[in-house]
């Protein structure tokens, strides 16, 4: 059987990971993207880049955790700068019950006391009495990761055609993999948009080795360290499909939270505010939907980097015709 020609629409995390999986299996792939460069119009550009399947169990269905564990294996192989330093979850003493709630719904963590917190993150020494440490989780810089994937696709001879806005119907290929995120709302009417806002700051006064989540009854947030003293602080979740500028309230909440984590963030430089719309279905679970020669990968919600490898693998398996009969038509499981 000759290998099919596949066109992937969308060079966000879903599209690039899927193209990588397909190319790795010898499929003839091309990627088309409406924007002019990687990340320009992809919500994954604004992601935290946390590969945290066990933390996510607290707010997501077990499926997310199960599929997410594949990402812990996939990303280090395709993006060696992935760091597997775990996740630290902290709460101020007043909100200690938030930690108990988190611990009750998560798995694969250890309780950390003041000493252990200080060993893990010296700059947080003495600031928190209790924390949860998820040793097996990882994180990456989404922008570097997307750029690296685009580079390795080019090395494999997979072109990314920018400035190309196409709908699945008018593409000449054996298969179309529709990875357009919320832009696919025209065909996936049940898709909804969930607004997310984030801020990137720079500080030389504090160093973190892993994502730190600060629990709060109203404004939970995370701080993810990146290279060159950069930190990504995220992220709001608002039930609206609006990518307008960050509101003052959201900015205050995000920055306040970071300041509560460590006063050094009060002196940090603001590098960027970012906003985009995450694609989600009503159950907040991803789906692979086949419609004739088009396969849609969508609904990755706030778990793009965590879920893309599992979905890409399933899509690649399906498109290569290796186990079509084992594939559920409408769901990724």
């Amino acid at each position: 059987m000759s290998s099919p020609r596949v066109t992937v629409i969308g060079a966000g995390v879903a599209g690039l990971v899927a193209a990588t999986e397909l190319a790795g299996r010898g499929v003839s792939v091309e990627v088309i993207e409406r924007a002019s460069r990687i990340g320009e119009r992809a919500c994954s550009w604004f992601a935290g880049g946390m590969l945290a399947p066990w933390c996510e169990q607290v707010n997501a269905e077990p499926t997310v955790s199960m599929l997410g564990q594949i990402a812990l294996d996939w990303w280090p192989r395709h993006f060696p700068a992935t760091r597997r330093n775990g996740t630290l979850v902290v709460a101020p003493p007043r909100d200690a019950s938030e930690l108990v709630h988190f611990a009750r719904h998560a798995e694969r963590f250890e309780w950390a006391d003041t000493t252990r917190i200080g060993e893990l993150e010296p700059d947080l020494r003495g600031r928190f009495r209790k924390a949860l440490f998820f040793a097996e989780e990882a994180h990456l810089d989404p922008r570097q990761a997307l750029t690296a994937l685009a580079g390795s696709l080019a090395d494999m001879g997979v072109p990314i055609r920018f400035d190309t806005d196409a709908s699945p119907a008018n593409i000449d290929a054996d298969h179309v993999l529709d990875c357009r995120g919320f832009a696919a709302r025209d065909t996936l009417t049940e898709l909804r948009g969930v607004r997310g806002e984030m801020v990137i700051v720079r500080s030389k006064e504090i160093t973190l080795s892993r994502p730190v989540r600060l629990l709060h009854p109203r404004f939970p947030l995370y701080v993810v360290p990146r290279a060159d003293g950069l930190f990504m602080i995220g992220a709001t979740m608002l039930e609206r499909a609006d990518s307008g500028p960050v509101t003052a309230r959201s900015a205050v909440e995000l920055l306040n939270g970071a300041y509560a984590l460590h006063p050094a963030f009060g002196e940090a430089e603001i590098v960027e505010f970012g906003v985009d719309v995450r694609p989600a279905f009503a159950d907040n679970l991803p789906r692979m939907i086949r419609r004739g020669r088009t396969t849609c990968l969508n609904g990755l919600y706030r778990h793009g980097f965590l879920l893309a490898p599992a979905l890409a693998r399933q899509a690649a398996t399906a498109l290569c015709g290796m186990s079509l009969e084992n594939l559920h038509e409408d769901h990724c499981q």
Binding site: H101, R192, P217, L238, E239, R240, A241, T247, A282, D283
Partner: protein, 256 residues
């Protein structure tokens, strides 16, 4: 139960925030048997009223919608949000929240009375989220409110009925006004306790949304509210200090 001339069968009102997903929220609403859900506009709307997908889901629940002004800290903000809610949901019902303290989310009762006066004058049917303060309650009724919603304890705290005496006093003073305990309920037993005091209904959100199994918890609350109401109507016994045997002592065999 009659709320502004509308007959509502279930005495449990449910909030729609903080669920793991809209699908789970929908299941929980169904399991609760509620006839009224509250929905927040402030955070989900923005300037472009772009929360439409979520609002469409809320409309699709097929129950009456009570929009709220959660997150509003001033009279002006609350009034503007209420007007927007009327446009978006086509209802004159509004759950009025004017928050006075960011830490406890305690109502600013002065702003609340002011906003209620403005909104009632503008044709709104106001459900004010207030403290259990008797005098404030009187002012809210003067302002035109026909329903009162005192807190049990701070929003989302799950601490249950913090001031049973105050809640009982309120009930005794306003026997004819629909009284709904709003906020602070953590367990079905709290909801039952409020209903046993003779409250007309209970409004809650976090206790269901943050439960490990929100749908099962919604069902548990439905039973608790029903049990509490039935107990109130059955005229509970008065507690007393002296033990009273439930079987007669006279005639029992004596082993002396």
């Amino acid at each position: 139960m009659d709320l502004y001339g509308v007959e509502i069968a279930s005495r449990l009102l449910l909030g729609t925030g903080k669920y793991p997903s809209p699908a789970i929220m929908t299941e929980a609403v169904t399991a609760s048997g509620t006839g009224v859900v509250t929905v927040s506009l402030r955070r989900e709307s923005g300037s472009q009223r772009s929360g439409q997908d979520f609002w469409a889901m809320i409309r699709g629940l097929g129950v009456r919608i009570l929009p709220n002004t959660a997150g509003c800290y001033s009279v002006k903000e609350a009034v503007t949000t209420a007007q927007m809610a009327r446009d978006v949901f086509g209802t004159s019902w509004i759950k009025l929240e004017v928050i006075g303290d960011a830490d406890t989310l305690q109502p600013d009762v002065f702003g609340l009375v002011e906003a209620a006066t403005i909104l009632a004058g503008d044709g709104f049917e106001v459900f004010p989220y207030t403290t259990e303060d008797l005098v404030v309650a009187e002012r809210l009724l003067e302002a035109g409110c026909r329903v009162l919603m005192p807190w049990a304890s701070p929003i989302g705290s799950g601490k249950g009925l913090n001031n049973v005496f105050g809640l009982r006093t309120l009930r005794a003073h306003f026997p004819e006004v629909p009284l709904i305990v709003d906020a602070g309920i953590g367990l079905p037993s709290h909801a039952a306790a409020a209903m046993e005091l003779g409250y007309d209904a209970v409004l809650l959100n976090t206790a269901v949304a943050l439960a490990g199994d929100p749908t099962a918890m919604a069902g548990a609350f439905a039973k608790a509210v029903e049990a509490g109401r039935a107990a109130y109507l059955a005229a509970p016994m008065e507690p007393r200090d002296m033990a009273a045997p439930s079987t007669p002592m006279i005639g029992k065999a004596s082993l002396e």
